[in-house]
Protein backbone atom coordinates (compact mmCIF):
# COMPACT_ATOMS: atom_id res chain seq x y z
CA UNK A 1 0.00 0.00 0.00
CA UNK A 2 1.28 3.45 -0.85
CA UNK A 3 1.09 4.64 2.72
CA UNK A 4 4.06 6.98 2.34
CA UNK A 5 2.42 9.12 -0.34
CA UNK A 6 1.24 12.51 0.92
CA UNK A 7 -2.45 11.97 0.24
CA UNK A 8 -5.15 13.51 2.35
CA UNK A 9 -6.89 10.80 4.34
CA UNK A 10 -10.51 10.50 3.36
CA UNK A 11 -12.92 11.39 6.13
CA UNK A 12 -14.19 8.37 8.01
CA UNK A 13 -17.74 7.34 7.25
CA UNK A 14 -20.14 7.64 10.16
CA UNK A 15 -20.20 3.87 10.60
CA UNK A 16 -16.45 3.87 11.19
CA UNK A 17 -16.06 6.85 13.57
CA UNK A 18 -15.51 4.58 16.52
CA UNK A 19 -12.71 2.83 14.61
CA UNK A 20 -10.35 5.76 15.11
CA UNK A 21 -9.17 4.62 18.52
CA UNK A 22 -9.13 1.02 17.39
CA UNK A 23 -7.02 1.99 14.39
CA UNK A 24 -4.28 3.39 16.63
CA UNK A 25 -4.52 0.54 19.09
CA UNK A 26 -4.38 -2.13 16.39
CA UNK A 27 -1.19 -0.74 14.96
CA UNK A 28 0.33 -0.55 18.42
CA UNK A 29 -0.66 -4.15 19.24
CA UNK A 30 0.84 -5.53 16.05
CA UNK A 31 4.03 -3.53 16.55
CA UNK A 32 4.30 -4.84 20.10
CA UNK A 33 3.88 -8.41 18.88
CA UNK A 34 6.60 -7.88 16.28
CA UNK A 35 9.00 -6.54 18.87
CA UNK A 36 8.01 -9.44 21.15
CA UNK A 37 9.31 -11.93 18.57
CA UNK A 38 12.69 -10.18 18.70
CA UNK A 39 12.61 -9.98 22.48
CA UNK A 40 11.93 -13.73 22.56
CA UNK A 41 15.17 -14.55 20.78
CA UNK A 42 17.19 -12.14 22.91
CA UNK A 43 15.43 -13.49 26.01
CA UNK A 44 16.40 -17.06 25.16
CA UNK A 45 20.03 -15.99 24.86
CA UNK A 46 20.00 -14.03 28.11
CA UNK A 47 18.31 -16.87 30.02
CA UNK A 48 20.83 -19.39 28.73
CA UNK A 49 23.79 -17.13 29.51
CA UNK A 50 22.44 -16.55 33.01
CA UNK A 51 21.89 -20.26 33.55
CA UNK A 52 25.30 -21.19 32.19
CA UNK A 53 27.25 -18.54 34.07
CA UNK A 54 28.09 -20.73 37.13
CA UNK A 55 29.60 -23.39 34.88
CA UNK A 56 31.78 -20.95 32.99
CA UNK A 57 32.77 -19.30 36.26
CA UNK A 58 33.82 -22.67 37.67
CA UNK A 59 35.55 -24.18 34.64
CA UNK A 60 36.45 -21.18 32.50
CA UNK A 61 37.16 -21.56 28.79
CA UNK A 62 38.72 -24.92 29.61
CA UNK A 63 35.11 -26.21 29.65
CA UNK A 64 35.09 -26.21 25.86
CA UNK A 65 38.12 -28.48 25.46
CA UNK A 66 37.70 -30.75 28.48
CA UNK A 67 36.37 -34.21 27.74
CA UNK A 68 35.67 -35.33 31.30
CA UNK A 69 32.05 -35.56 32.50
CA UNK A 70 31.82 -36.70 36.08
CA UNK A 71 28.71 -35.72 38.05
CA UNK A 72 30.05 -37.37 41.21
CA UNK A 73 33.03 -35.04 41.62
CA UNK A 74 31.19 -32.30 39.69
CA UNK A 75 33.81 -32.00 36.99
CA UNK A 76 32.37 -31.23 33.59
CA UNK A 77 33.72 -30.59 30.11
CA UNK A 78 31.86 -30.12 26.86
CA UNK A 79 34.24 -31.72 24.41
CA UNK A 80 32.64 -35.18 24.16
CA UNK A 81 29.11 -33.87 23.41
CA UNK A 82 30.45 -31.23 21.01
CA UNK A 83 32.47 -33.92 19.23
CA UNK A 84 29.43 -36.20 19.03
CA UNK A 85 27.20 -33.42 17.71
CA UNK A 86 29.72 -32.51 15.04
CA UNK A 87 30.41 -36.09 13.94
CA UNK A 88 26.75 -37.20 13.80
CA UNK A 89 25.78 -34.10 11.82
CA UNK A 90 28.75 -34.63 9.50
CA UNK A 91 27.76 -38.25 8.79
CA UNK A 92 24.16 -37.14 8.26
CA UNK A 93 25.16 -34.50 5.72
CA UNK A 94 27.58 -36.88 4.00
CA UNK A 95 24.67 -39.23 3.30
CA UNK A 96 21.77 -36.80 2.93
CA UNK A 97 23.44 -34.15 0.74
CA UNK A 98 24.05 -36.31 -2.37
CA UNK A 99 20.77 -38.18 -1.84
CA UNK A 100 18.77 -34.98 -1.44
CA UNK A 101 20.37 -33.34 -4.47
CA UNK A 102 19.78 -36.52 -6.47
CA UNK A 103 16.11 -36.58 -5.55
CA UNK A 104 15.79 -32.87 -6.29
CA UNK A 105 17.42 -33.37 -9.70
CA UNK A 106 15.10 -36.29 -10.39
CA UNK A 107 12.04 -34.25 -9.44
CA UNK A 108 12.95 -31.11 -11.37
CA UNK A 109 14.70 -32.49 -14.48
CA UNK A 110 13.85 -36.14 -15.06
CA UNK A 111 10.55 -37.11 -13.48
CA UNK A 112 7.36 -37.11 -15.60
CA UNK A 113 5.15 -34.20 -14.54
CA UNK A 114 2.37 -36.52 -13.47
CA UNK A 115 4.57 -38.30 -10.91
CA UNK A 116 6.19 -35.14 -9.57
CA UNK A 117 3.50 -34.18 -7.06
CA UNK A 118 2.90 -37.60 -5.49
CA UNK A 119 6.62 -38.23 -5.08
CA UNK A 120 7.36 -34.86 -3.54
CA UNK A 121 4.39 -35.27 -1.17
CA UNK A 122 5.68 -38.70 -0.11
CA UNK A 123 9.16 -37.31 0.54
CA UNK A 124 7.63 -34.44 2.52
CA UNK A 125 5.81 -37.00 4.66
CA UNK A 126 9.26 -37.81 6.04
CA UNK A 127 9.48 -34.24 7.29
CA UNK A 128 6.10 -34.48 9.00
CA UNK A 129 6.90 -37.57 11.06
CA UNK A 130 7.81 -36.44 14.60
CA UNK A 131 11.40 -36.97 15.65
CA UNK A 132 10.49 -39.31 18.51
CA UNK A 133 9.06 -41.75 15.96
CA UNK A 134 12.39 -41.75 14.13
CA UNK A 135 14.04 -42.51 17.45
CA UNK A 136 11.81 -45.52 18.13
CA UNK A 137 12.18 -46.77 14.58
CA UNK A 138 15.93 -46.36 14.77
CA UNK A 139 16.20 -48.20 18.08
CA UNK A 140 13.80 -51.08 17.42
CA UNK A 141 14.00 -51.58 13.64
CA UNK A 142 17.17 -50.06 12.24
CA UNK A 143 19.62 -50.82 15.07
CA UNK A 144 19.05 -54.63 15.10
CA UNK A 145 19.52 -54.75 11.32
CA UNK A 146 22.74 -52.76 11.61
CA UNK A 147 23.97 -54.87 14.50
CA UNK A 148 23.28 -58.25 12.93
CA UNK A 149 24.06 -57.71 9.27
CA UNK A 150 25.48 -54.35 8.22
CA UNK A 151 28.06 -53.64 10.91
CA UNK A 152 29.73 -57.10 10.98
CA UNK A 153 30.14 -56.83 7.21
CA UNK A 154 31.59 -53.33 7.53
CA UNK A 155 34.00 -54.42 10.25
CA UNK A 156 35.12 -57.43 8.20
CA UNK A 157 35.40 -55.42 5.02
CA UNK A 158 37.58 -52.66 6.43
CA UNK A 159 39.56 -54.70 8.96
CA UNK A 160 42.60 -54.73 6.70
CA UNK A 161 42.29 -51.22 5.30
CA UNK A 162 44.64 -48.91 7.20
CA UNK A 163 42.87 -45.84 8.57
CA UNK A 164 39.37 -47.10 7.99
CA UNK A 165 39.88 -50.10 10.27
CA UNK A 166 40.15 -47.79 13.30
CA UNK A 167 37.12 -45.81 12.13
CA UNK A 168 34.98 -48.94 11.93
CA UNK A 169 36.36 -50.99 14.78
CA UNK A 170 34.94 -52.67 17.84
CA UNK A 171 31.94 -54.85 18.53
CA UNK A 172 28.73 -54.12 16.57
CA UNK A 173 26.45 -52.52 19.18
CA UNK A 174 23.81 -51.48 16.66
CA UNK A 175 23.40 -48.15 18.40
CA UNK A 176 26.14 -45.55 18.26
CA UNK A 177 27.46 -42.53 16.42
CA UNK A 178 26.99 -44.07 12.96
CA UNK A 179 23.36 -45.06 13.63
CA UNK A 180 22.59 -41.57 14.93
CA UNK A 181 24.12 -40.07 11.79
CA UNK A 182 22.04 -42.38 9.63
CA UNK A 183 18.77 -41.46 11.37
CA UNK A 184 19.65 -37.75 11.13
CA UNK A 185 20.31 -38.23 7.41
CA UNK A 186 16.78 -39.58 6.90
CA UNK A 187 15.36 -36.69 8.93
CA UNK A 188 17.08 -33.85 7.04
CA UNK A 189 16.61 -35.46 3.62
CA UNK A 190 13.19 -33.88 2.90
CA UNK A 191 14.48 -30.45 3.96
CA UNK A 192 17.42 -30.63 1.54
CA UNK A 193 15.16 -31.97 -1.21
CA UNK A 194 12.51 -29.28 -0.92
CA UNK A 195 14.93 -26.34 -0.67
CA UNK A 196 17.08 -27.74 -3.50
CA UNK A 197 13.97 -28.20 -5.68
CA UNK A 198 13.11 -24.56 -5.06
CA UNK A 199 16.56 -23.29 -6.04
CA UNK A 200 16.82 -25.62 -9.05
CA UNK A 201 13.50 -24.27 -10.27
CA UNK A 202 14.98 -20.75 -10.38
CA UNK A 203 17.28 -21.68 -13.28
CA UNK A 204 15.71 -19.96 -16.31
CA UNK A 205 13.98 -22.34 -18.71
CA UNK A 206 15.47 -20.41 -21.67
CA UNK A 207 19.01 -21.32 -20.62
CA UNK A 208 18.09 -24.99 -20.20
CA UNK A 209 16.29 -25.07 -23.53
CA UNK A 210 19.31 -23.48 -25.21
CA UNK A 211 21.57 -26.16 -23.73
CA UNK A 212 19.25 -28.96 -24.82
CA UNK A 213 19.10 -27.27 -28.23
CA UNK A 214 22.84 -27.61 -28.79
CA UNK A 215 22.59 -31.29 -27.90
CA UNK A 216 23.46 -31.45 -24.21
CA UNK A 217 22.28 -34.49 -22.24
CA UNK A 218 20.05 -34.17 -19.15
CA UNK A 219 23.07 -34.67 -16.92
CA UNK A 220 25.09 -32.03 -18.78
CA UNK A 221 22.27 -29.53 -18.55
CA UNK A 222 22.03 -30.17 -14.83
CA UNK A 223 25.77 -30.11 -14.24
CA UNK A 224 26.66 -27.10 -16.40
CA UNK A 225 23.50 -24.96 -16.39
CA UNK A 226 21.28 -25.67 -13.38
CA UNK A 227 23.94 -26.39 -10.77
CA UNK A 228 26.13 -23.30 -11.41
CA UNK A 229 23.00 -21.20 -11.36
CA UNK A 230 21.79 -22.69 -8.08
CA UNK A 231 25.17 -23.03 -6.34
CA UNK A 232 24.68 -20.43 -3.62
CA UNK A 233 21.18 -21.71 -2.91
CA UNK A 234 22.40 -25.30 -2.68
CA UNK A 235 25.04 -24.31 -0.13
CA UNK A 236 22.32 -22.46 1.79
CA UNK A 237 20.13 -25.58 1.74
CA UNK A 238 23.02 -27.67 3.08
CA UNK A 239 23.65 -25.27 5.93
CA UNK A 240 19.96 -25.12 6.78
CA UNK A 241 19.92 -28.91 7.00
CA UNK A 242 23.12 -28.90 9.07
CA UNK A 243 21.49 -26.49 11.51
CA UNK A 244 18.54 -28.84 11.84
CA UNK A 245 20.78 -31.89 12.32
CA UNK A 246 22.90 -30.17 14.99
CA UNK A 247 19.90 -29.41 17.20
CA UNK A 248 17.88 -32.58 16.67
CA UNK A 249 17.20 -34.17 20.04
CA UNK A 250 14.83 -37.07 20.51
CA UNK A 251 15.79 -39.26 17.55
CA UNK A 252 19.45 -39.00 18.50
CA UNK A 253 18.80 -39.64 22.18
CA UNK A 254 17.32 -43.04 21.31
CA UNK A 255 20.14 -44.34 19.14
CA UNK A 256 23.39 -42.57 20.01
CA UNK A 257 24.16 -44.71 23.05
CA UNK A 258 24.64 -41.88 25.53
CA UNK A 259 28.23 -42.56 26.52
CA UNK A 260 30.37 -39.57 27.50
CA UNK A 261 33.48 -40.49 25.64
CA UNK A 262 35.26 -39.68 22.42
CA UNK A 263 35.89 -42.85 20.52
CA UNK A 264 37.82 -43.19 17.30
CA UNK A 265 35.33 -45.75 16.03
CA UNK A 266 32.05 -44.68 14.46
CA UNK A 267 30.39 -47.86 15.70
CA UNK A 268 31.00 -47.00 19.35
CA UNK A 269 28.32 -45.29 21.43
CA UNK A 270 28.78 -41.58 22.00
CA UNK A 271 26.63 -38.62 22.94
CA UNK A 272 25.58 -35.27 21.53
CA UNK A 273 24.83 -31.95 23.19
CA UNK A 274 21.08 -32.31 22.81
CA UNK A 275 21.02 -35.97 23.88
CA UNK A 276 23.04 -35.15 27.01
CA UNK A 277 20.61 -32.41 27.98
CA UNK A 278 17.53 -34.54 27.28
CA UNK A 279 18.88 -37.45 29.32
CA UNK A 280 20.38 -35.71 32.29
CA UNK A 281 18.65 -32.40 32.92
CA UNK A 282 15.77 -33.68 35.06
CA UNK A 283 18.21 -35.73 37.12
CA UNK A 284 20.84 -33.04 37.48
CA UNK A 285 21.31 -32.37 41.16
CA UNK A 286 23.50 -29.54 42.33
CA UNK A 287 23.94 -26.10 40.87
CA UNK A 288 27.08 -26.92 38.94
CA UNK A 289 25.58 -29.93 37.12
CA UNK A 290 22.55 -27.94 35.96
CA UNK A 291 24.75 -25.03 34.96
CA UNK A 292 27.02 -27.32 32.94
CA UNK A 293 23.98 -28.58 31.00
CA UNK A 294 22.81 -24.99 30.49
CA UNK A 295 26.28 -24.16 29.17
CA UNK A 296 25.94 -27.04 26.71
CA UNK A 297 22.60 -25.62 25.58
CA UNK A 298 24.18 -22.19 25.15
CA UNK A 299 26.96 -23.68 23.00
CA UNK A 300 24.39 -25.55 20.90
CA UNK A 301 22.26 -22.44 20.47
CA UNK A 302 25.28 -20.35 19.50
CA UNK A 303 26.48 -22.91 16.92
CA UNK A 304 23.04 -23.43 15.35
CA UNK A 305 22.43 -19.67 15.37
CA UNK A 306 25.60 -19.03 13.36
CA UNK A 307 24.91 -21.89 10.94
CA UNK A 308 21.25 -20.97 10.41
CA UNK A 309 22.04 -17.27 10.04
CA UNK A 310 24.66 -18.06 7.40
CA UNK A 311 22.17 -20.34 5.64
CA UNK A 312 19.49 -17.64 5.58
CA UNK A 313 21.92 -15.02 4.30
CA UNK A 314 23.06 -17.34 1.51
CA UNK A 315 19.49 -18.20 0.51
CA UNK A 316 18.55 -14.51 0.63
CA UNK A 317 21.55 -13.74 -1.56
CA UNK A 318 20.60 -16.53 -3.96
CA UNK A 319 17.06 -15.17 -4.18
CA UNK A 320 18.24 -11.64 -4.91
CA UNK A 321 20.73 -12.86 -7.48
CA UNK A 322 18.08 -14.70 -9.45
CA UNK A 323 15.66 -11.84 -8.95
CA UNK A 324 18.00 -9.41 -10.68
CA UNK A 325 18.62 -11.59 -13.69
CA UNK A 326 15.95 -11.76 -16.38
Amino acid sequence: MASSLPVARPALGPAFRHWRAFDCGFRLVTLTATVAVLVLLVGIMIALIKGAAPAFAAFGPHFLVDSSWNPVIEKFGALAPIYGTAVTSFIAMLIAAPLGLGIAMFLTEICPTRLRRPISIAIELLAGIPSIIYGMWGLFVLAPVLQNTVQPVLIGLFARVPGLSALLAGPPYGIGVLTAGLILAIMVLPLITSVACDVFATAPAVLKEAAYGVGATTWEVFRHVVLPYARVGVIGAMMLATGRALGETMAVTFVVGNAHRISGSLLAPGTTISATIANEFTEAVGERYGAALMALALILFAITFVVLAAARLLLLHAGQQTGQRP
Binding site: M1, A2, S3, S4, P10, G13, F16, W19, D23, G25, F26, T30, L31, A33, T34, V37, L38, L40, G43, I44, A47, L48, K50, G51, P98, L99, G102, M105, F106, A122, E124, L125, G128, I129, P130, I132, Y134, G135, M136, W137, L139, F140, V141, L189, T217, F222, R244, L246, G247, T249, M250, F254, S274, A278, F281, L293, A297, F301, T304, L308
Partner: protein
Protein backbone atom coordinates in the same frame (compact mmCIF):
# COMPACT_ATOMS: atom_id res chain seq x y z
CA UNK B 1 30.73 -41.21 -32.19
CA UNK B 2 32.75 -42.75 -29.40
CA UNK B 3 32.58 -39.55 -27.41
CA UNK B 4 28.88 -39.28 -28.01
CA UNK B 5 28.35 -42.77 -26.66
CA UNK B 6 30.44 -41.96 -23.58
CA UNK B 7 28.31 -38.87 -22.95
CA UNK B 8 25.14 -40.89 -23.33
CA UNK B 9 26.50 -43.47 -20.93
CA UNK B 10 27.40 -40.86 -18.34
CA UNK B 11 23.92 -39.41 -18.66
CA UNK B 12 22.31 -42.82 -18.19
CA UNK B 13 24.38 -43.41 -15.05
CA UNK B 14 23.47 -40.00 -13.59
CA UNK B 15 19.78 -40.44 -14.33
CA UNK B 16 19.66 -43.90 -12.79
CA UNK B 17 21.56 -42.73 -9.71
CA UNK B 18 18.98 -39.96 -9.22
CA UNK B 19 16.10 -42.38 -9.73
CA UNK B 20 17.75 -44.73 -7.27
CA UNK B 21 18.06 -41.93 -4.70
CA UNK B 22 14.36 -41.18 -5.11
CA UNK B 23 13.43 -44.84 -4.68
CA UNK B 24 15.60 -45.00 -1.56
CA UNK B 25 13.85 -41.94 -0.13
CA UNK B 26 10.42 -43.37 -0.88
CA UNK B 27 11.54 -46.73 0.52
CA UNK B 28 12.37 -45.10 3.84
CA UNK B 29 8.91 -43.53 4.11
CA UNK B 30 7.28 -46.89 3.42
CA UNK B 31 9.58 -48.79 5.82
CA UNK B 32 8.87 -46.40 8.68
CA UNK B 33 5.10 -46.36 8.12
CA UNK B 34 4.97 -50.15 7.79
CA UNK B 35 6.93 -50.65 11.01
CA UNK B 36 4.56 -48.26 12.81
CA UNK B 37 1.49 -50.08 11.50
CA UNK B 38 2.88 -53.53 12.28
CA UNK B 39 3.94 -52.72 15.84
CA UNK B 40 1.25 -50.24 16.76
CA UNK B 41 -1.86 -51.82 15.29
CA UNK B 42 -2.03 -54.78 17.67
CA UNK B 43 -2.25 -52.48 20.67
CA UNK B 44 -4.93 -50.29 19.14
CA UNK B 45 -8.07 -50.89 21.18
CA UNK B 46 -10.73 -49.00 23.07
CA UNK B 47 -8.72 -49.42 26.27
CA UNK B 48 -6.01 -47.15 24.87
CA UNK B 49 -8.44 -44.26 24.91
CA UNK B 50 -10.26 -45.08 28.17
CA UNK B 51 -7.58 -46.24 30.61
CA UNK B 52 -4.64 -44.63 32.35
CA UNK B 53 -1.01 -45.43 31.71
CA UNK B 54 -0.36 -48.63 33.66
CA UNK B 55 2.36 -49.49 36.17
CA UNK B 56 5.01 -51.87 34.77
CA UNK B 57 3.66 -55.30 33.93
CA UNK B 58 -0.03 -54.37 33.83
CA UNK B 59 -2.41 -53.56 31.02
CA UNK B 60 -3.63 -50.03 30.48
CA UNK B 61 -4.13 -47.23 28.06
CA UNK B 62 -2.92 -43.76 27.22
CA UNK B 63 -5.91 -41.68 28.32
CA UNK B 64 -4.01 -39.30 30.62
CA UNK B 65 -1.32 -38.76 28.00
CA UNK B 66 -3.86 -38.03 25.25
CA UNK B 67 -5.81 -35.62 27.47
CA UNK B 68 -2.59 -33.88 28.52
CA UNK B 69 -1.37 -33.55 24.96
CA UNK B 70 -4.71 -32.16 23.76
CA UNK B 71 -4.93 -29.61 26.59
CA UNK B 72 -1.37 -28.37 26.23
CA UNK B 73 -1.62 -28.20 22.45
CA UNK B 74 -4.87 -26.25 22.67
CA UNK B 75 -3.43 -23.74 25.14
CA UNK B 76 -0.22 -23.42 23.12
CA UNK B 77 -2.19 -22.62 19.98
CA UNK B 78 -4.42 -20.20 21.89
CA UNK B 79 -1.32 -18.38 23.19
CA UNK B 80 0.89 -18.53 20.13
CA UNK B 81 -1.54 -17.88 17.29
CA UNK B 82 -2.71 -14.34 18.25
CA UNK B 83 0.87 -13.25 18.89
CA UNK B 84 2.03 -14.74 15.62
CA UNK B 85 -0.82 -13.27 13.59
CA UNK B 86 -0.36 -9.83 15.16
CA UNK B 87 3.37 -9.83 14.42
CA UNK B 88 2.80 -11.04 10.85
CA UNK B 89 0.16 -8.33 10.36
CA UNK B 90 2.67 -5.67 11.26
CA UNK B 91 5.30 -7.18 8.97
CA UNK B 92 2.98 -7.52 5.98
CA UNK B 93 0.75 -4.47 6.41
CA UNK B 94 2.32 -1.64 8.41
CA UNK B 95 6.04 -2.20 8.24
CA UNK B 96 6.29 -3.64 4.77
CA UNK B 97 9.10 -1.33 3.73
CA UNK B 98 10.75 -0.78 7.10
CA UNK B 99 14.05 -2.03 8.39
CA UNK B 100 12.35 -3.73 11.33
CA UNK B 101 10.70 -6.14 8.91
CA UNK B 102 14.01 -7.46 7.57
CA UNK B 103 15.42 -7.92 11.05
CA UNK B 104 12.32 -9.67 12.40
CA UNK B 105 11.92 -11.90 9.35
CA UNK B 106 15.54 -12.95 9.63
CA UNK B 107 15.36 -13.80 13.32
CA UNK B 108 11.96 -15.42 12.95
CA UNK B 109 13.40 -17.78 10.35
CA UNK B 110 16.15 -18.70 12.79
CA UNK B 111 13.60 -19.30 15.57
CA UNK B 112 11.75 -21.54 13.11
CA UNK B 113 14.63 -24.00 12.98
CA UNK B 114 16.13 -23.40 16.43
CA UNK B 115 16.65 -26.57 18.50
CA UNK B 116 13.42 -27.18 20.41
CA UNK B 117 15.28 -28.51 23.43
CA UNK B 118 16.79 -25.06 23.94
CA UNK B 119 13.27 -23.62 24.04
CA UNK B 120 12.41 -26.16 26.74
CA UNK B 121 15.40 -25.05 28.80
CA UNK B 122 14.44 -21.39 28.32
CA UNK B 123 10.95 -21.99 29.72
CA UNK B 124 12.52 -24.00 32.56
CA UNK B 125 14.71 -21.01 33.40
CA UNK B 126 11.96 -18.39 33.35
CA UNK B 127 8.90 -20.37 34.52
CA UNK B 128 9.70 -23.70 36.15
CA UNK B 129 12.74 -22.72 38.22
CA UNK B 130 11.25 -19.50 39.69
CA UNK B 131 7.89 -21.17 40.48
CA UNK B 132 9.61 -24.24 41.84
CA UNK B 133 7.53 -26.90 40.09
CA UNK B 134 6.83 -28.41 36.70
CA UNK B 135 3.41 -27.65 35.21
CA UNK B 136 1.18 -28.09 32.21
CA UNK B 137 1.18 -24.30 31.81
CA UNK B 138 4.96 -24.33 31.37
CA UNK B 139 4.66 -27.11 28.79
CA UNK B 140 2.03 -25.15 26.87
CA UNK B 141 4.24 -22.02 26.94
CA UNK B 142 7.17 -23.98 25.51
CA UNK B 143 4.96 -25.32 22.73
CA UNK B 144 3.55 -21.82 22.12
CA UNK B 145 7.08 -20.56 21.47
CA UNK B 146 7.30 -23.14 18.68
CA UNK B 147 3.90 -22.12 17.28
CA UNK B 148 4.80 -18.42 17.00
CA UNK B 149 7.49 -18.54 14.26
CA UNK B 150 5.44 -21.00 12.17
CA UNK B 151 2.35 -18.77 12.32
CA UNK B 152 4.34 -15.58 11.69
CA UNK B 153 5.93 -17.04 8.58
CA UNK B 154 2.78 -18.51 6.99
CA UNK B 155 0.50 -15.60 7.90
CA UNK B 156 2.92 -13.05 6.49
CA UNK B 157 3.30 -15.01 3.26
CA UNK B 158 -0.48 -15.32 2.94
CA UNK B 159 -1.14 -11.63 3.64
CA UNK B 160 1.42 -10.68 0.99
CA UNK B 161 -0.52 -12.76 -1.53
CA UNK B 162 -3.60 -10.55 -1.07
CA UNK B 163 -3.62 -8.16 -4.03
CA UNK B 164 -2.99 -4.51 -3.11
CA UNK B 165 -5.81 -3.11 -5.32
CA UNK B 166 -8.21 -4.80 -2.88
CA UNK B 167 -6.71 -2.79 -0.03
CA UNK B 168 -6.62 0.40 -2.06
CA UNK B 169 -10.25 0.02 -3.05
CA UNK B 170 -11.23 -0.45 0.59
CA UNK B 171 -9.17 2.55 1.68
CA UNK B 172 -10.73 4.68 -1.03
CA UNK B 173 -14.16 3.90 0.40
CA UNK B 174 -13.03 5.52 3.63
CA UNK B 175 -12.27 2.44 5.66
CA UNK B 176 -9.69 3.03 8.37
CA UNK B 177 -6.47 1.01 8.11
CA UNK B 178 -7.43 -1.41 10.86
CA UNK B 179 -10.72 -2.14 9.09
CA UNK B 180 -8.94 -2.69 5.78
CA UNK B 181 -6.76 -5.28 7.48
CA UNK B 182 -9.31 -7.06 9.64
CA UNK B 183 -12.26 -6.92 7.24
CA UNK B 184 -10.53 -7.24 3.86
CA UNK B 185 -7.00 -8.67 4.12
CA UNK B 186 -7.76 -11.21 6.87
CA UNK B 187 -10.85 -12.40 5.06
CA UNK B 188 -9.01 -12.82 1.75
CA UNK B 189 -6.11 -14.64 3.41
CA UNK B 190 -8.27 -16.59 5.87
CA UNK B 191 -7.85 -20.14 4.60
CA UNK B 192 -4.13 -19.64 4.13
CA UNK B 193 -3.79 -18.41 7.69
CA UNK B 194 -5.76 -21.45 8.86
CA UNK B 195 -3.34 -23.80 7.10
CA UNK B 196 -0.51 -22.07 8.96
CA UNK B 197 -2.18 -22.80 12.29
CA UNK B 198 -2.81 -26.43 11.28
CA UNK B 199 0.85 -26.80 10.29
CA UNK B 200 1.85 -25.39 13.67
CA UNK B 201 -0.41 -27.93 15.44
CA UNK B 202 1.14 -30.74 13.38
CA UNK B 203 4.57 -29.49 14.34
CA UNK B 204 3.97 -29.34 18.10
CA UNK B 205 1.88 -32.50 18.45
CA UNK B 206 5.02 -34.62 18.16
CA UNK B 207 7.40 -32.33 20.04
CA UNK B 208 8.99 -34.08 22.99
CA UNK B 209 12.13 -32.20 23.86
CA UNK B 210 10.49 -28.96 25.07
CA UNK B 211 8.06 -30.90 27.31
CA UNK B 212 10.67 -32.94 29.20
CA UNK B 213 11.72 -30.10 31.51
CA UNK B 214 8.46 -28.15 31.57
CA UNK B 215 5.39 -30.40 31.84
CA UNK B 216 7.47 -33.42 32.95
CA UNK B 217 5.05 -36.35 33.11
CA UNK B 218 2.23 -37.67 35.24
CA UNK B 219 1.22 -41.22 35.99
CA UNK B 220 -2.41 -40.23 36.58
CA UNK B 221 -5.04 -38.26 34.78
CA UNK B 222 -4.98 -34.59 35.58
CA UNK B 223 -6.85 -31.68 34.11
CA UNK B 224 -5.08 -29.27 36.47
CA UNK B 225 -2.58 -27.47 34.29
CA UNK B 226 -0.82 -26.08 37.35
CA UNK B 227 0.66 -29.49 38.09
CA UNK B 228 2.93 -31.80 36.09
CA UNK B 229 1.11 -33.22 33.11
CA UNK B 230 1.45 -36.31 30.95
CA UNK B 231 1.76 -35.97 27.20
CA UNK B 232 1.84 -38.56 24.45
CA UNK B 233 5.42 -37.85 23.30
CA UNK B 234 6.81 -37.86 26.85
CA UNK B 235 5.01 -41.13 27.66
CA UNK B 236 6.32 -42.68 24.43
CA UNK B 237 9.84 -41.60 25.36
CA UNK B 238 9.57 -43.13 28.84
CA UNK B 239 7.82 -46.34 27.75
CA UNK B 240 9.88 -47.04 24.64
CA UNK B 241 13.13 -46.95 26.60
CA UNK B 242 11.75 -49.14 29.40
CA UNK B 243 12.49 -52.88 29.57
CA UNK B 244 8.79 -53.84 29.97
CA UNK B 245 7.02 -55.42 27.00
CA UNK B 246 3.60 -53.91 27.81
CA UNK B 247 5.08 -50.41 28.04
CA UNK B 248 6.93 -50.80 24.76
CA UNK B 249 3.72 -51.99 23.04
CA UNK B 250 1.87 -48.94 24.37
CA UNK B 251 4.70 -46.70 23.14
CA UNK B 252 4.26 -48.10 19.61
CA UNK B 253 0.50 -47.55 19.79
CA UNK B 254 1.08 -43.98 20.95
CA UNK B 255 3.56 -43.46 18.14
CA UNK B 256 0.98 -44.70 15.64
CA UNK B 257 -1.68 -42.36 17.06
CA UNK B 258 0.62 -39.31 16.85
CA UNK B 259 1.76 -40.16 13.32
CA UNK B 260 -1.80 -40.68 12.11
CA UNK B 261 -2.84 -37.37 13.68
CA UNK B 262 0.09 -35.52 12.10
CA UNK B 263 -0.52 -37.11 8.70
CA UNK B 264 -4.24 -36.27 8.91
CA UNK B 265 -3.35 -32.64 9.69
CA UNK B 266 -0.93 -32.52 6.77
CA UNK B 267 -3.50 -33.97 4.38
CA UNK B 268 -6.12 -31.48 5.59
CA UNK B 269 -3.68 -28.62 5.08
CA UNK B 270 -2.91 -29.79 1.56
CA UNK B 271 -6.58 -30.24 0.68
CA UNK B 272 -7.38 -26.73 1.89
CA UNK B 273 -4.40 -25.29 0.02
CA UNK B 274 -5.17 -27.04 -3.26
CA UNK B 275 -8.89 -26.20 -3.05
CA UNK B 276 -7.81 -22.61 -2.60
CA UNK B 277 -5.46 -22.57 -5.57
CA UNK B 278 -8.12 -24.16 -7.78
CA UNK B 279 -10.59 -21.39 -6.92
Amino acid sequence: MKRYRARRRRNAVAVSVCAGATLLGLGWVILILLALLREGRSGMSLAVFTEMTPPPGAAGGLLNAIVGSLMMTALAVALGTPLGIAAATYLAEYGRHGRLRHVVRFFNDILLSAPSIVIGLFIYEILVAPLGHFSGYAGACALALIVVPVVVRTTEDMLLLVPDPLREAAAALGLPRAAVITRIAYRAAGTGMLTGVLLAIARISGETAPLLFTALNNQFISVDMGSPMASLPAVIFQFALSPYKEWQALAWTGALIITLAVLALNVTTRTIASARSRK
